[in-house]
Amino acid sequence: MSFLVLVPTKRVPDTDGVIRVTPDGLDVDTSHLSFVINPFDAIAVEEALRLRERREDVEVVVVGIGDEAYEDELRTALAMGADRAIRVDAAEPLDPWNVACVLSELARRLEPRLILMGKQAVDDDSAQTGQFLAAKLGWPQATFASRIDDSENGAEVARETDHGIETLSVTWPAVITADLRLNEPRYASLPGILAARGKPIQEMSLQELGIEIQPRVELVGLQQVASQRTVRQVETVTELLECLRENTELF
């Protein structure tokens, strides 16, 4: 039996894009934005590929939950080297709870040994899905991973915490969420891009998975945070530190 690594990926606006709220205050204007794989998920894809380079039996399956546009990002993951992809069709992005419901159902069917995903998506910044999923499955979790040393039965994982690097041991199957320092994702090679064109993207419906969406998070409004900086020239160090005390969470 292969060691299946499931890598959920979210499609998000490129972090270099300028985020503007639509005039009705209910959405983000995506018309001028380009989309990419959530950067933390790309790190997870990379780590799965490195795991496959270390051990022979690994199969890397990427999952996206969304409309057809998600296939662009799944194709990116395939071009990087993932073996196959699954798109669970959903018209709207789901909240973390519902994503976790979909993923736990997929996990029951595919029986992965490892679910490797980003620690958070850079659009809603919730950082919840991996933990929800681990709880629902009753699997061990290692969040914010910056190093994974795998072995036959599990892994030692270094985690980035507010108070230093914590090292955990987890047994398979497990959920691990990737932090920034875990690795630097590769670019797809030319053969990789060509190969991705022929790799399958399996489509599944929520009905097939027996999932009924039960929204947990209702967005009732969005407000633009002023992005245009205007410099305030201060005269003294005392004044500067006073400003920093008021406007940062560092003191």
Binding site: D95, Q141, S169, V220, L222, E249
Partner: protein, 321 residues
């Protein structure tokens, strides 16, 4: 309404984020019959419970198997308490600790969760939570559906409340260690490393540029200031090229891209190649002797003057605090 705050502590006292979360909880639970309880978990943490009891009632779960904050165990115990005490809102400070454990508890409790909350409004019976999205570019107002609600709050969302003159009750809870999950183990915590954090990871980055004359000055001034914030040091390409700083400190288009909470540019003029690496930092401070330096165009706070005067003064002030 009954709010339960999961305590994050250092084995001795509550951490500041948790006391702020207690303050936030009081704003939430301020009606007749509302209560705020603090849940203290750990091994031999009576002093933490005593500290927490100066704010209000405490539930204390003390057991050797809870010595380390392993998410699977702590979330399991927390979720049990939420259920047995009919908690309406489970709350914690925004931190890696809460994101890990309350996130998992949220998964056991139905997933009605909001992270990094900065404030709330009452809209009739509903609570509308404010939280940042898109790295702070947008503030979202969200309503959670389900019960209980799970919320992590930013430490700046509330002040630490007044301590009571006499401590509140501390009620032990029983821990059934045989039923705790056991597939995660704690192997160690490499506390704050003595060397500085990586420039891409630190909450505070102090960067130096051409205004610095020597490696010793860089270490003393840029390094010294960074250390006052437990922050990282960064460098402009000019200093790397001049051999004054190592390559891995370089921030910019061909170096590293950073977005810390606070970026202090010391003696950096702010060529676009450097700005590309740091312009998304939340708060930017520029110290430069040239009032025309382009760094001031992207800074929130600017101070024109000689860095050799200004930086030592900053360090002195920070040490005095």
């Amino acid at each position: 309404m009954h709010v339960l705050v999961l305590a994050e502590h250092d084995g001795d006292r509550l951490r500041a984020g948790t006391t702020a979360a207690l303050g936030f909880s009081r704003q939430l639970a301020n009606g007749d019959g509302d209560q705020v309880t603090c849940l203290v978990l750990g091994d031999s943490v009576a002093t933490v419970a005593d500290d927490a009891a100066t704010f209000g009632p405490v539930l204390l779960g003390s057991h050797a198997d809870l010595a380390e904050p392993l998410a699977d165990r702590w979330a399991e115990v927390t979720a049990k308490v939420v259920q047995s005490e009919s908690i309406d809102i489970l709350l914690g400070a925004s931190s890696t600790f809460s994101r890990d454990i309350l996130g998992r508890a949220g998964g056991l409790l139905g997933g009605a969760m909001a992270s990094d909350v900065t404030g709330f409004l009452r809209d009739g019976d509903r609570l509308v939570w404010q939280r940042p999205m898109y790295a702070g570019a947008v503030t979202a107002s969200v309503v959670l559906h389900g019960s209980p609600l799970i919320v992590t709050v930013r430490p700046t969302a509330a002040e630490t409340p007044e301590r009571r003159s006499s401590p509140a009750s501390i009620t032990p809870i029983s821990i059934d260690s045989g039923r705790l999950p056991g597939s995660t183990g704690h192997l160690g915590l490499d506390g704050r490393p003595s060397h500085r954090p990586d420039v891409t990871e630190a909450r505070v980055v102090v960067s130096g540029g051409r205004g610095l004359k020597t490696t010793e000055d860089f270490e003393r001034l840029v390094g010294g200031l960074a250390d006052r914030f437990d922050g990282a040091t960064g460098s402009s390409r000019a200093l790397v090229d001049a051999g004054l700083t190592p390559n891995d400190l370089q921030v910019g288009q061909t170096g590293k891209v950073v977005a810390p909470e606070l970026y202090i540019a010391v003696g950096i003029s702010g060529a676009v190649q450097h700005l590309a690496g740091m312009k998304n930092s939340r708060v930017i401070v520029a110290v430069n002797s040239d009032p025309h330096a382009p760094i001031f165009e992207v800074a929130d706070y600017g101070i024109v003057g000689d860095l050799y005067d200004i930086v030592p003064e900053m360090i002195q002030h920070l040490d005095a605090d």
